[in-house]
């Protein structure tokens, strides 16, 4: 090898300077810190005040839940040790595990649980349905409490376990006394991590430190259930743009990268020491929601025609680029959830769509598709939908804006004739949020959700679903709701897709869960 003066000088300079120039990530041993790029910024800390997913995920770090959902979406006790439901389905008795304590070292008591449940019931969609049925709460002793209902409500315990916002997090009674329209900013929970309030920089960084006093369950961790064993001292959530995160994981400055933008997956897969894998095996569902109040979508025949114009494979292939990451089955309940069924599903049928379009008497009026350009999935889904509708002969106009503007316009629901209305909006919802006829607001026939679908028959079926405790009966009702909702074009369920994470090979035992969780995880030095 020839050693020139220039190469010698460069090597010498690099040798002298490298201890100073190496990034902190490379200079320090990984230790017991996990630095992660999380999906979205954390701006509100109170998971009952807002339904934002980032706040919900933060809730799982700081607070604990009475029940959890395992990776197979089965309800499992979490803070609860044992529970009993009376034969008539009216009396629920819960007994807490021993050793539960809040971060301020006060024990978790029945009063705390009751106050937290009451606050949650004022805010959560499913829980608010049981609130009017509650005859009373009773704290039997410090660890046992009873909820009595006036009529059976089979979804009470599943609602306490659900991972979709709002989650039934338990907080001290003094905090839970805050009205749900007012945000709690003091973060005292009994969860596996403590929130480092002094290190929190909104939109930039949130830090969680191990709760040494946390007593995990003895079962293995699975989803949000099982033993939440904390193996790292610190978890740092960093909020950054996708490109910055890609550079950061390549240079060892972060260990975990939640749901990278799909177009970056091939780049990340090629990085030595980085693995791309799916932890949320329940996945997400693409939702195309028509506005039932605006012509021509106020006509069920037109909505049926629209449903047959959509080929979701194009949406998901364009967005994800990998057919392995999605499944199209036409069910309103995502694949892998208990009520998923093919019955009544509607599939791409251009000829059928044309026949229905003629029957509906479409006369070329503009169809407004809302688009949020700052959300990759929304940008792509709305672009593909617009193209498919144009191919079917519709006069489509894409209305682009940022998410906030789009959302405001959608909720305002002005008449399209006035120039600021809309016809179609897209969402990508996590599977558990769409898993049953109650949790999925897009299946509401009460006209109380964006898109404002109404149908008395569906509302009757949803009430029947709530009343029964028999799983087979629930499945039968859920199936009827699916058939009816698809017939009426409540919304287009565009298949189930997976969003992989990217993580350093130094991480071990990452938990499979529908929401990102940071317990059980270890770091190899």
């Amino acid at each position: 090898m020839n050693v020139t003066r220039r190469s010698f000088m460069a090597t010498a300079a690099a040798g002298i300077l490298s201890p100073y120039l190496l990034s902190p990530a490379q200079a320090q041993a990984a230790g017991s810190v996990v630095r992660t790029k999380v999906i979205t910024t954390l701006t509100s800390l109170d998971p009952i005040y807002t339904t934002a997913y980032s706040t919900r995920n933060h809730g799982y770090m700081v607070f604990d839940t009475l029940f959890g959902l395992d990776a197979g979406l089965n309800v499992q006790p979490q803070m609860v040790d044992i529970y009993d439901i009376s034969e008539d389905g009216l009396t629920y008795t819960f007994t807490l595990r021993d050793g539960l304590a809040f971060h301020d070292e006060t024990p978790v008591t029945s009063e705390d649980c009751i106050a937290s449940i009451q606050r949650w019931m004022q805010q959560d969609l499913v829980a608010s349905k049981v609130a009017p049925l509650v005859a009373g709460y009773e704290a039997v002793d410090d660890t046992t409490f009873v909820i009595t209902l006036t009529q059976p409500f089979a979804q009470l315990v599943p609602a306490m376990a659900k991972v979709g916002s709002n989650v039934c997090f338990i907080m001290p009674a003094r905090l839970a006394a805050t009205p749900p329209s007012e945000q709690i900013t003091e973060m005292v929970g009994s969860g596996p991590y403590r929130f480092a309030a002094d290190e929190y920089v909104a939109d930039a960084r949130a830090v969680y430190v191990r709760n040494e006093a946390y007593v995990p369950r003895s079962e293995p961790a699975s989803g949000t259930a099982g033993g939440k064993v904390v193996n790292v001292d610190r978890v740092e959530w960093l909020f950054m743009d996708d490109m910055a995160a890609t550079s950061a994981i390549q240079s060892g400055e972060i260990e975990f990268y939640e749901e990278p933008s799909p177009e970056l997956l091939p780049v990340l897969e090629a990085v030595p020491g980085v693995t791309v894998g799916v932890q949320n095996t329940v996945g997400m569902q693409m939702v195309i929601r028509p506005n039932h109040t605006q012509p021509p979508f106020d006509n069920p025949t037109f909505r049926q025609a629209f449903m047959k114009m959509i080929n979701p494979e194009e949406h998901l292939l364009t967005y994800l680029g990998d057919p392995e990451l999605f499944t199209i089955d036409g069910s309103v309940y995502p694949l892998g959830t208990p009520f998923n069924t093919e019955v009544g599903s509607i599939h791409y049928d251009p000829e059928g769509a044309q026949a229905l379009l003629e029957e509906a008497g479409y006369n070329g009026e503009p169809i407004y598709v809302l688009q949020a350009t700052n959300i990759a999935s929304n940008r792509i889904f709305s672009t593909v939908t617009a193209e498919q509708l144009r191919r079917a002969g519709l006069n489509v106009q894409v209305e682009s804006s940022d998410f906030g503007t789009m959302f405001g316009r959608a909720l305002a629901n002005e008449p399209v004739a006035d120039g600021n209305g809309w016809h179609l909006i897209h969402f990508a919802n996590i599977g558990p949020d769409m898993a049953d006829p109650i949790t999925s607001r897009a299946l509401s026939g009460a006209g109380d959700y964006l898109g404002w679908s109404t149908d008395e028959e569906i509302e009757t079926l949803r009430a029947d679903f709530l009343a029964t405790t028999d799983l087979e009966e629930q499945k039968a009702i859920a199936e009827q709701i699916q058939v009816r909702a698809l017939e009426l074009g409540f919304y287009y369920p565009g298949g189930t897709f997976m969003q992989p994470n990217a993580y350093s090979d130094s991480l071990t035992d990452i938990v499979e869960s529908p929401v990102p969780v940071y317990w059980n995880m270890g770091v190899n030095a």
Binding site: L21, S44, T51, A52, D203, S247, E253, D402, G404, F407
Partner: protein
């Protein structure tokens, strides 16, 4: 000069009031409702209304405007609608990274741009002049984010010499801070470096063709003295103007740079707040940016007097 300074300072007050009023109006007219965004898509109209009432967003525009002005009068910038953290605290958390980035960028742009411009002027028409002008056109034309990602690829990903993202506060050591901001400063400073180099070259060419320079040369004065003692101070006014203009324009560039390099500064705070309609934060930041802009312009104006005796004479009531 002091009277001039006070006069200019007072003249800034109506500017700031107009900016504050315009921002309030624009936010009022812009679509999107923070209460809806906070509540999320599954919230009921009642829940949204409760949040709106809790945040006083249900109050009429005039009532909110009056309340805001009253708050400002007591030095209170309000509370973020989302985090419920006082805006002054949010700004205090974010001001250091932006300030350090801006100062380092201006220093780099100035200390590289001026010598390059002088060099190009002295060797006008030479290969060196062309190279400097080529670099300056490049600096002008390539967007900040392209330069940023290229620098990250080379110095962080491939060579591993500098951190790819993030910021290290001054309290953790100056060296760490400099390592964190050196790439962002180069990315952000490219445009200003180019501007300063071009303006310096043009101003120096003009000055170097003046009679007094020719006379100095004829008298055998050393060329370095001609350049740095006689020519450069006389070319300073356009250079200082472009530097001042750069500081103002940089406020926009900082948003992109802070995003590319994940620096938790005021630029990112502004962009994030706009996207989620966090009105008190947007209003406070706009006022601060407007104040910086006014202050920099004032500093530039005052510096004219330092470089040009004619301006000083005019300030004292003399004639230029």
């Amino acid at each position: 000069m002091f009277a001039y300074f006070i006069k200019r300072l007072l003249a800034a007050v109506p500017t700031l009031i107009i900016v504050a009023f315009a921002v309030f109006m624009m936010l009022e007219l812009s679509p999107g409702d923070p209460a809806e965004l906070i509540a999320g898509d599954t919230a009921t109209p009642e829940q949204i209304a409760a949040i709106r009432a809790q945040l006083n967003l249900d109050q009429p525009f005039v009532a909110r405007a009056v309340a805001w002005v009253g708050q400002l009068g007591t030095g209170d910038l309000g509370v973020s609608l989302y985090t419920r953290i006082p805006v002054s605290e949010l700004i205090a958390q974010r001001i250091e990274p932006s300030l350090v980035l801006t100062v380092v960028t201006i220093l780099l742009a100035t200390f590289i741009g001026i010598p390059l411009g002088v060099l190009a002027a002295v060797r006008v028409g030479s290969i060196l002049d062309r190279i400097v002008m080529f670099i300056s056109v490049l600096g002008f034309s390539v967007p900040v984010f392209i330069v940023g990602y290229a620098l990250v690829l080379i110095f962080a990903t491939n060579l591993g010499l500098l951190p790819a993202q993030g910021y290290s506060p001054l309290s953790d050591g100056l060296w760490g801070t400099l390592r964190a901001v050196i790439m962002p400063a180069f990315a952000l400073g490219g445009v200003y470096m180019a501007q300063i180099a071009r303006v310096t070259r043009a101003a120096m060419l003009e000055v170097l063709s003046e009679d007094y320079v020719r006379t100095a040369r004829a008298k055998g004065v050393k060329s370095t003295i001609i350049l740095f003692r006689h020519a450069l101070p006389n070319a300073a006014i356009p250079i200082v103007t472009v530097i001042g203009f750069g500081v103002g324009a940089m406020l926009g560039g900082v948003v992109v740079t802070e995003t590319v390099f994940n620096i938790p500064g005021l630029g990112r705070l502004a962009a994030d707040s706009i996207l989620r309609r966090d009105y008190p934060v947007i209003q406070a930041l706009t006022l601060i940016f407007a104040f910086i802009y006014v202050a920099v312009n004032l500093a530039v104006d005052l510096s004219y007097g330092f470089f040009d005796p004619r301006v000083r004479a005019w300030g004292k009531g003399g004639h230029a």
